[in-house]
């Protein structure tokens, strides 16, 4: 089963990489790029909601910090190399991650949520009012097209490849973080922090590590978004990005990493293709999120894996019973 899903995953990745060769452009390409932005952001959010096990309202803030850092650097010094900008953005979001995570992870549950809410509120207030540095409510306009080495990003297709690679990086980094010894420590800190610390795991340190990785990844997506849109504004801190990413994580399934991606495919395509007023979009997303929480609390992905697991489980159970051979199993299942 695992083999099959891995093959499917590679086929999907390959198809997505070849997609622009088929002459995809216009609204579809734009939608794909936005799916990439939200997929990356919601995977980073899932690291906190699904793997730290706390509700963060601060994810759009890191996204915005990344975007603002890149915008500030490139508008003050257009000659600056993209890799320097990328590096500085990573350092800046990491510093913010350490400060905000270091403070808020000392508390749990609603307190954690309120602290992240409050601290992203502080950043949004600064972005709105510190006009000389952040451009105030107008933000920072006039970000030139992305240029890596000699390659100018003149066509949207280039942006698609860039966000595609970025999403793969976000997924890979998250998977690496969650595998092996570190991953087990993170999962046990989430599931039973008392037991984990009794076993000598520094729960706070692992939670902080996850938090900082998540904020760096959100910041990277923000850097991309700043270049793609061409300007940054305090709207990046707003409720829109928060509601969208939370809905995607909930609908796709928290704590799965791939669920948020599926959530972002569904919600972003829905909002781009069913062209309603933005108010209607948010009404529908709010409603769907509430319904998902009540009726599908583990999200789409878990509903799917649950069915698969149950079928496998049934077969295994019957196989292990004495006197059953394969033919009988088939009749029982049929």
């Amino acid at each position: 089963m695992k083999k099959i899903s891995r093959i499917i995953a590679w086929v999907v990745v390959l198809c997505l990489a070849l997609l622009p060769l088929l002459g995809v452009n216009g609204l579809l390409l734009q939608t794909l790029i936005m799916i990439g932005v939200f997929a990356g952001l919601s995977m980073a959010t899932d690291l906190i909601i699904g793997y730290i096990g706390e509700l963060s309202f601060g994810q759009p803030a890191f996204f915005a910090v990344g975007a603002y850092t890149a915008a500030k650097l490139v508008t003050t010094n257009p000659q600056m190399s993209f890799f320097v900008i990328l590096l500085v953005s990573i350092v800046v979001t990491a510093v913010f991650g350490v400060i905000i995570g270091g403070i808020s992870l000392r508390l749990q549950g609603p307190f954690f949520a309120m602290l992240t809410f409050g601290m992203s509120g502080i950043l949004a207030t600064l972005a709105n009012n510190w006009s000389s540095f952040t451009g105030g409510s107008n933000g920072l306009p006039g970000i030139p097209p992305l240029q890596i080495g000699g390659l100018m990003f003149t066509k949207p297709v280039y942006y698609w490849y860039f966000i595609f690679v970025l999403c793969l990086i976000v997924y890979a980094v998250s998977r690496i973080l969650l595998s092996g010894r570190t991953g087990r420590a993170i999962l046990s800190s989430r599931d039973n922090s008392g037991l984990a610390s009794a076993l000598g795991i520094n729960v706070f340190r692992y939670k902080l590590l996850t938090f900082v990785v998540s904020s760096i990844l959100s910041g990277l997506i923000g850097v991309f978004y700043a270049y793609y849109i061409g300007y940054v504004s305090p709207d990046l801190f707003g409720i829109y990005f928060l509601q969208m990413t939370l809905s995607m994580v909930v609908i796709g399934g928290k704590g799965t990493l791939i669920g948020p991606v599926i959530g972002s495919v569904i919600l972003t395509s829905a909002s781009n293709y069913i062209q309603l007023k933005p108010e209607w979009n948010l009404i529908i997303f709010g409603l769907v999120t509430i319904l998902a929480l009540i009726f599908f609390p583990k999200g789409i992905v878990s509903a799917f894996t649950h069915i698969v697991e149950r079928r496998n489980h049934k077969t295994d159970e019957l196989k292990s019973m004495e006197g059953y051979d394969d033919t009988e199993v088939r009749t029982v299942n049929g």
Partner: protein
């Protein structure tokens, strides 16, 4: 205007703002203390109350007090329905689901209101807007006096209902030990639903009262939500007296900052207070005991 009068005027402005905060924050704290639920849709109920009252006055031509009652009943009903359909379903599962769901509810209400009422700022038309009471050089509008008066009256009534009546005892019992309350024949679900409805109606009342002193717009819910948070955190979870004290402190402090420094970073004052209090005294000024 000399310095002392200016100072007094700022204090009065702060007290008025603080009483507005107190009413909305008591609603949030009532829900938090009794149900152990943070209602992220609280700010949108504040906004909804103000807009429904404004519509009742400008479209239906109801008198101010009648529009207030209609709006309170309406928002209370929406709160009761929200509890039955959403909060009750998720409370038992985990608190994160409730938080995400109430945030979704907030998005829902805000955008429905935006579709109905439009994006233009409005005002709750009150007959007391223009008249001003002058005491020497200090001037207070009648509407502001009404905010303080209704706020004080309401909080006294709340105090007596919670501490002296049968329903108050049921509330206390549920807040302290919901399982024990249920075993003693209290309909815990009903208590929760009533609490949620009353909490939301309190948010609406604050929105209506404050909405006559300033312009209202459909996105104002988020700042009301944050202010309530800050007040609840500062006053202590579940402490009604603490909430009122904290609201007055915040109101006066903000008025001082706005009057003597600058109005730009008003929000920042609240956020910083909240973060500092959460870190050094998470139980708040008077927290620790449920519903005192």
């Amino acid at each position: 205007m000399n310095g002392f009068v200016y100072f007094l005027q700022e204090i009065i402005n702060g007290v008025v703002a603080g009483m507005g905060y107190a009413v909305v924050a008591v609603g949030m704290n009532l829900i938090l203390g009794t149900m152990k639920v943070i209602n992220f849709a609280h700010g949108s109920f504040y906004m909804l109350g103000a807009f429904v009252a404004a519509a009742m006055i400008s479209v239906m031509h109801l008198p101010y007090w009648m529009a207030t009652i209609v709006a309170l009943l309406f928002v209370g009903l929406v709160g009761v329905l929200s509890d039955i359909s959403i909060v009750r379903q998720l409370r038992e599962k985990d608190e994160m689901s409730v938080m995400i769901a109430t945030l979704g509810l907030s998005t829902l209400i805000t955008n429905v209101a935006q579709l109905i009422f439009g994006a233009n700022p409005e005002q709750v038309g009150s007959p007391y807007q223009q008249s001003v009471i002058a005491m020497g050089q200090i001037r207070v509008s009648v509407q502001n006096t009404l905010v303080v008066g209704v706020g004080v009256l309401l909080l006294i009534v709340m105090y007596f209902v919670i501490n002296r009546t049968k329903i108050g005892f049921k509330l206390h019992a549920t807040a302290q030990n919901s399982e024990g309350a249920r075993l003693n024949g209290i309909n815990v679900k009903l208590v929760y639903t009533i609490t949620f409805g009353v909490g939301c109606a309190l948010a609406a009342l604050s929105g209506i009262l404050v909405g006559s002193t300033t312009t209202i717009f459909t996105s104002m819910g988020s700042s009301a939500l944050i202010t309530s948070f800050i007040v609840v955190v500062l006053g202590g979870m579940g402490s009604i007296t603490g909430t009122i004290l904290a609201a007055l402190i915040l109101g006066v402090l903000q008025a001082m900052v706005a009057g003597y420094l600058s109005g730009t970073y008003l929000d920042l004052v609240g956020y910083i207070i909240m973060v500092v209090i959460l870190l050094i005294r998470p139980q708040g000024l008077m927290g620790g005991r449920p519903l005192s």
